[in-house]
């Protein structure tokens, strides 16, 4: 198997990160925002996994991180469910009862 130059992984990670940021910024639906966050996290995971040289620390980190991401989404969806019940929307723009003073 050919060793891939790690630099491509890094490019990919950067793309994922930026795409994630863009999605987080631009989507109105919470689910999509979560998807954006997933993208950022995966970018980071890719970065860590890529750099895992000599020992497995990085790869283990990445695996843990993926698991945690899933948990995070679970928590988020649980809250979202409640939001949907109360606000009857999952649109972030319309969830704004807390006012800044």
């Amino acid at each position: 198997m050919n060793e891939l130059d790690p630099i491509y992984h890094l490019y990919l990670a950067a793309v994922l990160f930026s795409a994630g940021v863009f999605v987080v910024m631009s989507k109105r639906n919470v689910v999509f925002v979560l998807v954006g966050i997933e993208l950022i996290l995966n970018g980071a995971n890719l970065l860590i996994a890529t750099f895992s040289r000599g020992n497995l620390n990085g790869q283990i980190f990445a695996i843990f991180s993926i698991v945690l991401t899933v948990c995070e989404v679970a928590v988020a969806l649980a809250i979202l469910l409640n939001i949907y019940k109360k606000y009857t929307t999952s649109n972030l723009d319309e969830v704004r009862e807390l006012r800044n003073e």
């Binding site: 990670a13 990160f17 994630g20 987080v24 919470v30 925002v33 979560l34 966050i37 950022i40 996290l41 970018g43 980071a44 995971n45 970065l47 860590i48 890529t50 750099f51 040289r53 000599g54 020992n55 620390n57 990085g58 283990i60 980190f61 843990f64 991180s65 945690l68 948990c71 995070e72 928590v75 988020a76 649980a78 809250i79 979202l80 409640n82 939001i83 109360k86 606000y87 972030l92 969830v95 704004r96 009862e97 807390l98 003073e101």
Partner: protein, 478 residues
């Protein structure tokens, strides 16, 4: 090393995690008990018992140093702060809590405690990340425990915001790991001077500052503190913040203080935090929101103690943190008592004048302590902070420390202005309608005790240091 040796080593090192284990076991038993009974008394006693056991184990002490294949670093600081967290955990039992959802609530509180305690001991990036996420997730969830519309809203926003910042922190871990091949905090002194590594380190620090609610990473704080249940808020304002600061201190110690740019950056942010927190608190009309901005300002007061490399600031950090924890538990307790009377806005406190002078004066003492006036613990805390800054400065440090001192000083004066608004309303404003609800005697006694303890800590500040010494005396030095 074969598997057996590894397992043996793990077993031998598990001792360093006994507090966490106790808490986890307690949490699981809580869940089980929750399936069987709905009795709040029982659940509370299980919770209390867990914490007492954990406290006992913490008291017994640990062997210092690296453990579990370097993934943990046990220091006396962690032990001390564990005591603070457990104490805070115990004290929130004094808050009023309905039986509904008690199981889950206390379960999550125990989880957040585990997360906080782990965070302070973390040495490998992985453990640090895991414990941060543990505190974060549980924090997201208990923010919703008021089961109010705004609670969910604050919860989801907190989550999104937190997720982004942890993602960025993760990115920082990746950069440091990738560029310098460092996976442990204790190895940070060997960090590569290259740009990406520095950026990575900075991103990690930012992640911690986010937990420590330092400006500009504080945006989640007011909404969260305002919407979460009061006991949850008390824990939220203590555990993740102090744990993050402890880890930050370790990072600074490990990086070494030659890297002055990073400490300068943090000090700048700290000053910004003080100014921003104080000024923002001025314009709040909601009492809880005002106090939460005060808590942000307190982060700014704590920050230099973490950064300065002197044993005085170390002691002062412990003292300030302990006093801060106590004051926060107390103030949110009071806010809770008053909120249940329907007093939410600062102006509502006007209706409290002349109703219950015990409660009112006790609350005044707490607020005085938060301002940092004698004779309350808050003054001693500020005094130690100012003393450390002076000392550090006079030992030849940068002028930014004396600037910090002056900023902190002015902020103290201004903070008087908003903290005092509550006693001002209570005593000086004549309200049209007076509140006539009676406060239970138990609440009054608790309120009095809180204020007495805060006063006592002023008159005998050595209590806390002696406590620290007692705690540390059990540590087996290797």
């Amino acid at each position: 090393m074969n598997l057996q040796d590894q397992l043996l080593e793990i077993l031998a090192n598990l001792e360093s995690l006994k507090v966490e284990f106790t808490l986890i076991i307690g949490a699981i038993s809580l869940l089980i008990a929750g399936l069987i009974t709905k009795s709040g008394q029982l659940l509370k006693s299980i919770y209390a018992l867990t914490i007492v056991f954990a406290f006992y184990h913490n008291w017994q002490g640990f062997s210092l140093g690296l453990a579990l294949s370097n993934s943990l670093f046990i220091a006396s600081t962690a032990q001390n702060f564990t005591a603070i967290f457990l104490g805070a955990g115990l004290l929130i039992l004094l808050y009023h809590r309905e039986e509904e959802h008690a199981t889950e609530f206390y379960f999550f509180i125990l989880s957040i405690l585990v997360g906080g305690i782990m965070l302070m001991k973390a040495n490998s990036f992985l453990v640090a990340y895991l414990s941060i996420e543990l505190t974060s997730f549980t924090a997201y969830i208990i923010t919703n425990f008021s089961f109010k519309k705004v609670g969910f809203e604050a919860g989801i926003k907190y989550l999104l915001f937190g997720a982004v910042s942890t993602a960025i922190m993760l990115f920082g871990f990746g950069l440091v790991y990738g560029v310098s091949d460092i996976f442990f905090i204790s190895e940070l002194n060997e960090i590569n001077k290259a740009l990406p590594a520095s950026v990575g380190l900075l991103l990690i620090v930012f992640g911690l500052l986010f937990k420590g609610s330092v400006v500009p990473f504080h945006i989640w704080v007011p909404a969260t503190y305002q919407s979460a249940p009061n006991d949850a808020t008390a824990i939220l304002s203590i555990v993740p913040k102090l744990a993050a600061f402890v880890l930050l201190q370790r990072i600074f110690q490990s990086v070494g203080f030659d890297e002055s740019w990073i400490s300068t950056a943090c000090l700048m942010l700290g000053m910004l935090t003080i100014v921003f927190g104080t000024l923002s608190a001025l314009r709040q009309s909601n009492a809880r929101r005002m106090i939460s901005f005060g808590a942000i300002a307190h982060s700014g007061f704590l920050l230099p103690l973490v950064i300065m490399e002197s044993s005085t600031s170390n002691e002062a950090f412990w003292w300030y943190a302990a006093a801060y924890a106590l004051m926060n538990v107390a103030i949110f307790f009071f806010l809770d008592v008053y909120e249940r009377k329907g007093v939410v806005q600062v102006s509502d406190y006007g209706g409290q004048s002349g109703t219950d002078w015990v409660l009112n004066s006790a609350m005044t003492i707490i607020l005085i302590s938060l301002v940092g006036l004698p004779p309350a613990a808050g003054f001693t805390a500020k005094f130690l902070l100012f003393g450390s800054l002076w000392e550090f400065y006079s030992n030849g440090a940068d002028a930014i420390y004396i600037t910090y001192l002056i900023v902190a000083l002015f902020a103290t004066v201004i903070s008087l202005f908003f903290y005092l608004r509550i006693p001002y309303q209570m005593f000086l404003v004549k309200a049209e309608t007076l509140d006539t609800q009676n406060t239970p005697v138990s609440t009054k006694i608790i309120a009095t005790l809180f204020s007495i303890v805060l006063l006592l800590l002023f008159f005998a500040p050595q209590i806390l240091t002696v406590m620290q010494q007692l705690l540390n005396s059990h540590i087996a030095y290797e």
